[in-house]
C-alpha cells in the first residue's frame, strides 16, 4: 500500500541538541494523521524536516512512495507537499492577494494559478473581502486561513499543518477543524500537529505521540483517547 508519507528513524539536530530520535511515522493517503506531544517534544522539528527546511541527520523520508530524504524544499513542493507552518508566517508586508499570487507563482500554468487564487477567495470569503489588505493586519484566525489557502495554492496532495488552532478563539478553532475535514474529504492527506489533543484525536484516523523527540505511542485515536496513563503523561492540557 502506498502511503502519503513514510518516515523511518528520523534524527534532527540543532548543533548539540537532538530534537528527534529515530522517529517512525506513516500517514495514509486521504487520511488525517495527528502528531501530538508536549512542548518541545519535536513535532515542529519533524514537520520542518519533512518540508526540507531542516537538515536530516539520520533516517529517511518518503513521499507518495518516492524517496525525498534530504531533498530541497522546492522539490518537496513539486512532490505534492505543502505546509501551513507553526506561527502561520504569512508575509505581513504583502497584501492578502499577493500572498496567494506569490504561492501560485510556483505553479507552471498561470491560468491554473489564477483559477486557484479565485477559488481560495471564494472558499475563504474573508480573504476575498480583505484581498487588498496587508496580511499583517488580519486577525490571528484570518492569518491562519491565509496560511492554509497559501499552502493550497500549489495544489498539494499532502498538507502539513503545524498547530493551526494555536491562540485562536473557540469559534475560529471550530472553523479550522471544519476546513481540515473538508480538505480530507477532497482527498488531501493531512499531517496535523496539535496541542489540542482532544480535537485532533476526534478528526484523526491515526495518531502518533512524541515525547522528548521519540515516539511514545502510535495507534488508533480511540485507543489513545481511552488510555488514561498516556493522557496524563503526554497530552494533559
Amino acid at each position: 500500500m502506498e502511503t502519503a508519507l513514510t518516515i523511518r528513524g528520523l534524527d534532527v539536530r540543532y548543533g548539540p541538541v537532538q530534537a528527534t530520535r529515530g522517529v517512525d511515522l506513516t500517514a495514509a493517503v486521504g487520511g488525517v494523521t495527528a502528531l501530538l506531544g508536549a512542548n518541545g517534544a519535536g513535532k515542529t522539528s519533524t514537520v520542518m524536516a519533512i518540508a526540507g527546511a531542516l537538515r536530516i541527520s539520520g533516517g529517511s523520508v518518503s513521499i507518495f512512495g518516492q524517496d525525498m530524504t534530504g531533498a530541497a524544499p522546492d522539490a518537496i513542493v513539486r512532490a505534492g507537499v505543502a505546509i501551513s507552518p507553526e506561527g502561520r508566517r504569512v508575509f505581513s508586508a504583502l497584501s492578502v492577494e499577493d500572498n496567494l499570487t506569490l504561492a501560485g507563482s510556483v505553479v507552471a500554468d498561470t491560468a491554473t494559478a489564477l483559477d486557484r487564487k479565485n477559488a481560495m477567495m471564494q472558499r475563504f470569503p474573508i480573504l476575498g473581502e480583505r484581498r487588498k489588505q496587508l496580511a499583517g493586519l488580519l486577525s490571528g484566525g484570518e492569518q491562519q486561513m491565509l496560511a492554509v489557502a497559501r499552502a493550497l495554492m500549489s495544489g498539494p496532495r499532502l498538507l502539513l499543518m503545524d498547530e493551526p488552532s494555536l491562540g485562536l478563539a473557540p469559534q475560529m478553532v471550530d472553523a479550522i477543524f471544519a476546513i481540515i475535514e473538508e480538505l480530507r474529504d477532497e482527498g488531501i492527506s493531512i499531517l496535523l500537529v496539535e496541542q489540542n489533543a482532544t480535537l485532533a484525536l476526534d478528526v484523526a484516523d491515526h495518531a502518533v505521540i512524541l515525547a522528548n523527540g521519540a515516539v511514545a505511542a502510535a495507534g488508533a485515536p480511540d485507543d489513545l483517547k481511552n488510555d488514561k496513563l498516556l493522557q496524563a503523561a503526554y497530552l494533559a492540557a
Binding site: 526540507g52 524544499p73 513539486r78 505543502a82 508586508a93 506569490l102 507563482s105 510556483v106 499583517g136
Partner: protein
C-alpha cells in the same frame, strides 16, 4: 533665485544617485543580510565598461548600455562566486567578505587598467545648458534627475507588481517561508543582486557623465554616502534608503553652497553630525523596516 534653482537641481541630481545606490544596498541587505561593501566597485566596473566601450569605438549610447550591463554582470558574478557560499553567515562575516572582495576588485582595476583617472568624453552636445527663470541649468544634471526618477519608479513597480518583486519583498521578511512555498531562493537572491547592479550601473552612467573620468575609487565615495543614507533611512527599509539618499544629497549640496568658506572643510562632518542627530531622534531611521527581527 536663479542660484536656488541651480542648487536645487544639483541637490536632487546628487540625491538621486545616492538614492539609487542606497536602494541597491538595501535590496540586497534586506534579503541576505549582506552590507555589500563591494557595491561601489560594481559601480566602478560599470564606469570602466563605459570607458572601454568608447575606447573600442562604440557609440556613446551603446557604451552607456554596456556600462550598465557590466555592472549587472559584476553584481551577479560576485553573488555567485563570493556571497552565495557565505549565505546564512552572520552580518559581520558577510561584511568582511565584501571588504575583501572590494579590495581585490580595486587592485584588479589598478593593475589591469590604471591607478589614475582615465578620461571619458561624451559628445559636446551632452554638456550643454539651458535657461529657466534666468538660471543656467546643465542638460546632464537634468537628464540625471529624470533617469533617477524613472529608475526608482520602475524599480518600485517591479517590487510591487511583478511576481519576482513580490518574492523579493517576501524574502526580505521570511526567506525560509518563501522556500517552503517552493520558490527557488537562489533565483530570488540573484535577482536582487541583478537589480542592485542595474541601479549601480545607472549611477555609474550619471556619475561619469557628470565627471568625465573613471578611477578605481570612483564608486567608493558615493557608496559610502549611500551607506549613510541606508542607515539614516532605516537599515533594510527600501523606502528609507531612497529617502535617506535624497536627504544626504540635499544636505551635501546645501552645505557646499551656503556654508561660509571658513567652515567648508567641515562639510562632511556637519552632514554626519546632522545624520547622527536624526538617528538620536529616530534610532531605527526615518522610515524603519517593518520587520526588525533579523538577528
Amino acid at each position: 533665485m536663479d542660484l536656488i534653482i541651480q542648487q536645487s537641481i544639483n541637490a536632487i541630481s546628487l540625491g538621486g544617485v545616492y538614492a539609487m545606490l542606497a536602494l541597491g544596498l538595501a535590496i540586497v541587505f534586506s534579503i541576505v543580510g549582506l552590507i555589500n561593501f563591494a557595491h561601489g566597485d560594481i559601480m566602478t566596473f560599470g564606469g570602466y565598461g563605459i570607458f572601454l566601450s568608447l575606447a573600442f569605438g562604440m557609440s556613446p549610447v551603446a557604451a552607456l548600455a554596456i556600462g550598465i550591463g557590466a555592472a549587472v554582470v559584476m553584481a551577479l558574478t560576485l553573488e555567485r562566486t563570493a556571497f552565495r557560499a557565505m549565505r546564512g553567515a552572520d552580518v559581520v562575516t558577510l561584511l568582511i567578505t565584501s571588504f575583501a572582495v572590494s579590495e581585490i576588485l580595486k587592485v584588479l582595476f589598478q593593475n589591469t587598467i590604471s591607478a589614475r583617472p582615465v578620461p571619458i568624453s561624451f559628445p559636446a552636445a551632452w554638456s550643454g545648458t539651458y535657461e529657466i527663470g534666468g538660471a543656467t541649468i546643465g542638460v546632464v544634471p537634468t537628464v540625471s534627475i529624470i533617469v533617477a526618477f524613472v529608475s526608482l519608479l520602475g524599480l518600485t513597480l517591479i517590487l510591487r507588481r511583478t511576481a519576482t518583486g513580490m518574492a523579493m519583498r517576501a524574502a526580505a521578511e521570511d526567506l525560509e517561508m518563501l522556500k517552503l512555498l517552493g520558490v527557488r531562493a537562489n533565483r530570488v537572491v540573484a535577482m536582487a543582486f541583478a537589480l542592485s547592479g542595474l541601479l549601480a550601473g545607472i549611477a555609474a552612467v550619471i556619475w561619469t557623465a557628470q565627471r568625465g573620468s573613471v578611477d578605481p575609487m570612483m564608486g567608493f565615495f558615493p557608496v559610502l554616502k549611500a551607506f549613510i543614507a541606508t542607515v539614516l533611512g532605516g537599515l533594510g527599509s527600501l523606502g528609507g534608503a531612497v529617502l535617506g539618499g535624497f536627504v544626504i544629497g540635499v544636505l551635501e549640496v546645501l552645505t557646499q553652497a551656503f556654508l561660509p568658506d571658513g567652515l567648508s572643510p567641515y562639510r562632511d562632518a556637519i552632514v554626519l553630525a546632522l545624520v547622527i542627530a536624526a538617528l538620536l531622534w529616530r534610532p531605527d531611521g526615518l522610515l524603519p523596516a517593518q520587520n526588525a527581527n533579523r538577528s
